[in-house]
């Protein structure tokens, strides 16, 4: 039997949803939204050594636009993001198609493919340091066997960035694979059966049925991966520290160095704000483009 509601009980019932939300809002507000605002404030400041921070207006942003190092780090980041995300998508889709039908050992295969994702990026860096290393690495041993001279992949200006992309592809292709596999397996059977009855080729079914129906999953997968790749830091920090020279200096690493090696907090904050704006702009553009083409 329902209890009679007093006026006070009614008020309490109305407040309950908000009371439950409040602690989360407080935490996220204090430790995400507030720092974000403070980031913008910091980007208008300069931090001279031993003195109080000074307001410098748009000076940091003006410097940023003309900063060749920043622009080149953006370019490096963009190359890294597009190459890594693209390769991961193609390989992940291929794997998902290979493994979509029931298969013996499917469980074990799936589990094995998950392993790279669970390993901390720092450890992934260590793994590939061991492989790339010129003295003890498997890669240099193979290169020596094939070409006759040892190669130090990570200290080559031309090979360091592709080497980092390969590391990212190794770690995150399983992510694309898992998402696309889940997407493929959740598609309805009827359209595919109908197409097969009508005699459509496997390629046509893939192109005109699978891909369009998978689109929402593809958008989510690409967005998540691209956003993560755009702010890659850990593996680069462990493997190359941005070198040789600035060949692998991605944007996040540059912000890190500017703030915590050179103590230019204001300038670093302006870079971070610029990156945030770019990220928001690109994710909005990608989402809209895909929505429009559905």
């Amino acid at each position: 039997m329902a209890r009679t509601r007093g006026l006070e009980g009614d008020r309490r019932r109305k407040a309950l949803p908000w009371l439950l939300l409040a602690p989360t809002a407080l935490f996220v507000g204090a430790l995400t939204i507030l720092p974000l605002g403070y980031s913008v404030v910091t980007s208008f400041r300069e931090f001279p050594l031993g003195q109080a921070p000074a307001f410098v207006g748009l000076q940091n942003y003006r410097n940023l636009i003309g900063d060749a190092n920043f622009l080149s780090s953006l370019e490096t980041t963009l190359v890294f993001t597009i190459a890594a995300t693209g390769l991961e998508f193609v390989l992940g889709l291929g794997l998902a198609l290979l493994l979509k039908q029931e298969f013996s050992f499917q469980g074990i295969i799936r589990s094995s493919l998950i392993i790279p994702m669970a390993i901390a990026p720092v450890v992934v860096g260590i793994i590939w340091r061991l492989l790339y290393n010129a003295d003890v690495g498997l890669f240099s041993f193979a290169a020596q066997a094939l070409t006759g001279h040892s190669v130090s992949v990570l200290s080559s200006t031309t090979m360091a960035l592709p080497a980092l992309i390969l590391v990212d592809v190794w770690e995150w292709t399983p992510f694309m694979f898992l998402l696309l596999l889940a997407g493929i397996q959740s598609l309805p059977h009827e359209p595919f059966e109908a197409a097969r009855v009508d005699g459509a080729s496997a390629w046509n079914i893939f192109l005109h049925l699978t891909m369009p129906m998978l689109r929402p999953v593809i958008v989510v997968a690409l967005l998540i991966r691209a956003l993560d790749a755009f702010t890659v830091f850990d593996q680069v920090f462990v493997l190359t520290q941005g070198g040789p020279g600035t060949a692998t200096e991605v944007a996040t690493l540059m912000v890190y160095k500017t703030a915590f090696r050179f103590s230019q907090f204001g300038y670093a904050a302006s870079m971070a704000v610029a990156l945030l704006v770019l990220v928001m702009f690109f994710s909005a553009a990608i989402t809209r483009a895909f929505r429009a083409s559905v």
Binding site: M1, A2, L16, P17, L20, L21, P23, T24, F27, V28, A30, L31, T32, Y38, S39, V41, T42, L95, L98, L99, I109, R110, S111, S112, L113, I114, I115, P116, I119, A120, P121, V122, V123, G125, I126, I127, R129, L130, V136, L138, F141, W170, P174, L178, A221, I224, T231, D234, V238, V255, Y256, F260, F265, A269, A272, V273, L275, L276, M280, S283
Partner: protein, 282 residues
């Protein structure tokens, strides 16, 4: 070219599939195996050419050195304390929010709340790191466990709220309402009906938060530095500079940091896709 009969064609395709899958497995597992292999070798054997495919005189000396000489135990303990606290805190706080979102929010509000819960998650860490450092410095929380616990809790919250909401939504409202009609208070119906049904979700969500937080490096690197508070990834990265060519120790540190997490990830496999997309794909 002779036309292939459909059965040979099928067998050929099957063969290609097996080879490609085997290749994917080798590429995935060989690097990991190589780290384990290196961690069990002596310093001399690490430098043998050609490299040995398995340790000829397997030794645990690399692991022992890490704990005796390189504070790995302290880093590990810091990680356990920081990650444990942050996961428990965010799970309690985030589940309250998730319940509220799942049960009370109307469709229109739901969309708005979705945005406000999801938006903080989309902010790249790099946009927060400078102000976070300056704020925690003011509060005297740099290189303190508490600082990182607070930061990690805040980062986990949007994820926990979204994940738990999707688990709560799968529990029929009717069950709860029936209990309340029978006179149970909302609190009691949550405790006796919702929580038991949501417990697999709670476990999956906490393991996910645990993996992400345990592996986090960027903020840990900036906010902690010494064995007083630094986490395992930071300690491991610091090792690389200190050990120079002691690749065996480097590998052993990697194994210590990786093994528990791989086990945890395999435990939540079933929910992996949902976790990776924060409930966007099930």
């Amino acid at each position: 070219m002779p036309r292939l009969t459909s059965s040979t064609q099928r067998r050929l395709w099957f063969g290609i599939r097996v080879i490609l899958i085997a290749l994917a497995l080798i590429i995935t597992l060989l690097p990991v195996y190589w780290m384990v292999n290196t961690s069990l070798k002596t310093q001399v054997e690490v430098f043998t050419s050609p490299p040995t495919l398995w340790p000829e005189n397997p030794t645990l000396s690399n692991y022992i050195n890490l704990f005796v000489r390189r504070h790995l135990g302290a880093y590990l303990l810091n990680s356990v304390i920081i990650v444990g606290s942050a996961v428990v805190l965010s799970l309690i706080i985030g589940s309250l929010a998730a319940y509220s979102l799942a049960r009370f929010a109307k469709a229109g509000l739901q969309d708005k709340v979705n945005f406000w819960v999801l938006a903080p998650r989309m902010i790249p860490p790099v946009a927060l790191v400078v102000p976070m450092f300056l704020i925690l410095q003011q509060l005297g929380l740099i290189n303190r466990k508490l600082g990182l616990i607070l930061v990690y809790t805040a980062f986990n919250l949007p994820f926990v709220a979204l994940m738990m909401r999707s688990f709560f939504q799968e529990i029929p409202v009717d069950l709860e309402e029936a209990a309340m009609v029978d006179g149970a208070s909302r609190l009691r119906s949550i405790r006796e009906i919702v929580l038991p049904l949501a417990s697999p979700g709670l476990v999956a969500t906490s393991i996910f938060s645990l993996i992400v937080t345990f592996n986090e490096f960027f903020f840990a690197l900036i906010l902690t530095s010494t064995p007083v508070a630094a986490t395992l990834p930071v300690g491991t990265a610091a090792l690389i500079g200190k050990t120079q060519t002691l690749y065996g120790e480097m590998a052993a540190a990697g194994v210590v940091a990786a093994v528990p997490l791989v086990i945890f990830a395999l435990l939540v496999q079933r929910h992996l896709v949902r976790g990776l997309t924060m409930g966007a794909v099930k």
